[in-house]
């Protein structure tokens, strides 16, 4: 008999007032009993609508059935057939707009907590299974992957599973991409990312850090080295700024820089050699997940007042509902319907305030969201000593500038065939933010997965 409770089992978490002072993970994960109780809410629908909502098509009802049977390792084996990074996805996927949005239980009540169950299973496996994955039998073909982020690692994992010899080239000193430089420790512990990467290495994936493709080696040289196909998952790229006065004052960061200092370079630890501005009041400009990450990091670094400055209203915030909720609980102040017009500096060129103008919503624009319009004469100054710009990125130019015949669109993103990730050049595939512009981890993983499939078909057909 299924558990007919209309509500999900609640996720155990650190109390807001405690967690906003540390960098430990916010959510603690289900216990076995909670997981089984939640698994019992699944109706095991025959047509599996949830699977259709998953970019990597995990067989969700089947893994949940294994949880019900208390065969947690069995559940893991089902997830890992489709996902290379289950412990990551269970934490950072926007399930509410994907699998869980299709769940029949969501029609009347809350959907099954698929994401939380996925995380439970992945964590169970990490804590209890000491066995490393085996290296599959090799098929003698070689593929190069550019970028060790979500799309690249997924593509690498899928190809390795099929027997390919895969090498991933990473520009930074550490593999993981946005999972290590962008998403904070309190949302995704770095030890978990490293364990997932270790699993890939055990499967035979080679990771070459400190290698900037487009600089250290070119895409064409990779083919010269004997790789038969190349996947480009080079990520989002250069941060955007607003082009308002004062953006180069000291204390103005892009979200990329702010988060990289904190996450990759561990600036929140006392012994880190990488500094970060000690701020009392921080304004984060933008309303996406990256803005929430930056704001919550600023709070944990000790800022008393942290503001989200966003030009539309709470309803239009692009961030996940859960992230917004967590941020509010932690004391982040939402200054929505406000747009910065100038950043003000003191005599030493440090930030001392941000001048904003109030906005109101007009008619819907091209994006379908109501267009924000400035209210004349409504300017006011917010006293802050740090500003973080989290308004998106534009693609990195290094590969497109050094690889002939690779078509890009007017934004500089690689143009690919959607289903396959095929670019305009034979043997070159691309996916993730390098194609879509800044998007989510799971969409990048889905693209890596699709590309792996078509790379396999391409090489086998040669």
């Amino acid at each position: 008999m299924p558990n007919m409770s209309l509500k999900k089992n609640e996720m155990p978490s650190q109390a807001p007032d405690v967690r906003n002072k540390n960098f430990k993970e916010v959510t603690l994960g289900y216990t076995k009993d909670q997981a089984i109780d939640e698994a019992n809410r699944c109706l095991n629908c025959k047509n599996k609508p949830c699977v259709g909502g998953c970019p990597v098509a995990i067989d969700i009802p089947e893994f949940i059935a294994k949880i019900r049977e208390e065969d947690f390792e069995g559940a893991y084996q089902i997830i890992s057939k489709s996902s290379s990074l289950p412990a990551v996805c269970g934490r950072v996927c926007p399930q509410e707009t994907q699998c869980e949005s299709k769940c029949v239980r969501g029609i009347k009540g809350e959907p099954v907590a698929i994401g939380r169950l996925e995380r439970f299973v992945a964590d169970y496996h990490m804590n209890n299974c000491k066995e490393e994955p085996k290296k599959p039998e090799q098929n003698g073909h070689r593929v190069a992957i550019i970028g060790a982020g979500p799309s690249g690692l997924t593509c690498a994992g899928d190809l390795a599973r099929l027997g390919y010899e895969v090498t991933v080239y990473e520009a930074l000193h550490l593999a993981g991409g946005v999972l290590v430089y962008g998403i904070p420790e309190f949302r995704l512990p770095k030890a978990i990312v490293q364990k997932e990467i270790k699993n890939l290495e055990a499967m035979g994936v080679k990771i070459m850090t400190n290698t900037v493709v487009g600089k250290t080696i070119s895409v064409d040289e990779l083919f010269g080295m004997g790789y038969e196909a190349v996947f480009i998952g080079s990520g989002a790229g250069l941060p955007r700024f607003m082009r308002i006065p004062g953006e180069n004052l000291k204390g103005v960061y892009s979200a990329n820089e702010y988060l990289t200092r904190v996450n990759l370079m561990k600036a929140y630890k006392k012994d880190s050699d990488t500094p970060i501005h000690n701020s009392k009041s921080v304004a984060v400009v933008g309303g996406g997940n990256v803005a929430m990450d930056a704001a919550r990091s600023a709070k944990r670094l000790g800022a008393e007042n942290v503001y989200i400055v966003y030009r539309r209203s709470m309803n239009e915030l692009p961030a996940r509902a859960e992230e917004v909720e967590h941020a509010e609980e932690e004391g982040i102040i939402f200054k929505t319907l406000n747009n910065p017009v100038e950043i003000l500096g003191d005599e030493h060129k440090f930030v001392k305030g941000i001048k904003c103008i109030e906005m109101e919503l007009g008619e819907p624009d091209d994006s379908g969201r109501r267009r924000p319009i400035p209210k004349e004469g409504s300017e006011f100054i917010l006293d802050v000593d740090c500003v973080v710009m989290a308004i998106g990125t534009s693609p990195n130019p290094l590969i497109r500038n050094t690889t002939e015949g690779l078509e890009t669109n007017k934004h500089g993103c690689f143009v690919v065939e959607e289903e396959t990730g095929k670019t305009s050049r034979e043997g070159i595939y691309a996916g993730g933010d390098a194609v879509t512009g800044a998007a989510t981890v799971i969409l990048a993983m889905g693209a890596g997965k699709d590309a792996a499939k078509s790379i396999d078909e391409y090489i086998k057909s040669k």
């Binding site: 430089y181 290698t211 790229g237 250069l238 000291k250 370079m265 500094p275």
Partner: protein
């Protein structure tokens, strides 16, 4: 890990190292830079390539001990290893098509100016090098510069070597004496580059400068290295590090470069004390 093949003290505060990094050596060109991390807790710092040997697979870096990271780096010896070393990054210095160029180097900036002078010289360009140091004890790369320069002018703040005065004094003299330069390339402290540009602007001589702002990734991701060039925001790591000096907002760059001065000073003192205590206990 990247092995230190050779280490040489050029003066009490400036050290040369040859690093085993074949992939970087294969591609490096004058004007480009690398990013290194000394150890697992270390920060990422950019250093401009001072030389390279494609056959031996080595890249030469020359650094001044100015902070915690360079202090730590200087404590490593031949056959020790550096944790991370990535490059070559940035756009190479443009050296083609010139007949006569003045290369102006200030202090440790000469380490970056030298490979540029060498490349210009090798491409058949007449090279006039003007180098400036605080005093004679801080001199570096004298023989190297002489070997690739048609004129070599030395300036010191105190007159202990060459002439007493600034590089701008020497450059002005050369220009006034009728030398016609296709371009001036100035590499050194921001203040020096600012004043070289102010001078050459008067004579309308195109001047390129090599910017060395604070960076983290160095590959076009963090945006920390941004500067204003001709009213536009540019990223030194992918758009530079060379820029038209007449368009660079030097005052802003100078301000931005001292953003972490207090932290850096404190961390430097801590590192120095740490090494002192270690030496005492040995």
């Amino acid at each position: 890990m990247y092995k230190i093949i050779k280490k040489k003290e050029l003066n009490p505060t400036v050290t040369l190292m040859e690093i085993d990094a074949p992939l970087v050596a294969k591609k490096a060109e004058p004007g480009q830079f690398i990013i290194l991390r000394v150890d697992d807790e270390g920060e990422r710092i950019p250093l401009t390539v001072a030389d390279f040997d494609r056959e031996a697979g080595t890249v030469t870096i020359i650094f001044q001990i100015v902070g915690s990271t360079t202090e730590k780096l200087n404590h490593l010896n031949e056959s020790d290893e550096i944790k991370d070393f990535v490059g070559p990054l940035g756009v190479p210095t443009h050296t083609e098509g010139f007949k006569k160029v003045a290369v102006v180097g200030g202090g440790v900036g000469c380490a970056i100016a030298y490979p540029v002078a060498k490349k210009l010289h090798n491409s058949g360009c007449e090279v006039h090098s003007v180098v400036g140091f605080r005093n004679k004890d801080l001199f570096i790369l004298e023989d190297e510069f002489k070997a690739v320069s048609d004129k070599y002018v030395v300036m010191t703040d105190d007159g202990s070597k060459g002439e007493k005065g600034l590089v701008t004094d020497a450059l002005k003299k050369l220009i006034e004496s009728g030398e016609k330069y296709d371009e001036v390339i100035a590499i050194g402290p921001l203040v020096m580059m600012k004043f070289v540009c102010r001078l050459t602007k008067e004579y309308d001589i195109k001047t390129m400068v090599s910017m060395n702002p604070i960076m983290i990734d160095g590959t076009g991701m963090c945006g920390g290295c941004r500067l204003t060039v001709g009213g536009e925001t540019k990223f030194a790591c992918v758009d530079g590090p060379d820029f038209d000096g007449h368009l660079v907002d030097f005052d802003e760059a100078i301000e931005r470069s001292n953003m972490y001065k207090d932290f850096e000073r404190q961390r430097y003192d801590e590192t120095c004390n740490l090494f002192k205590n270690m030496e005492r206990s040995v």
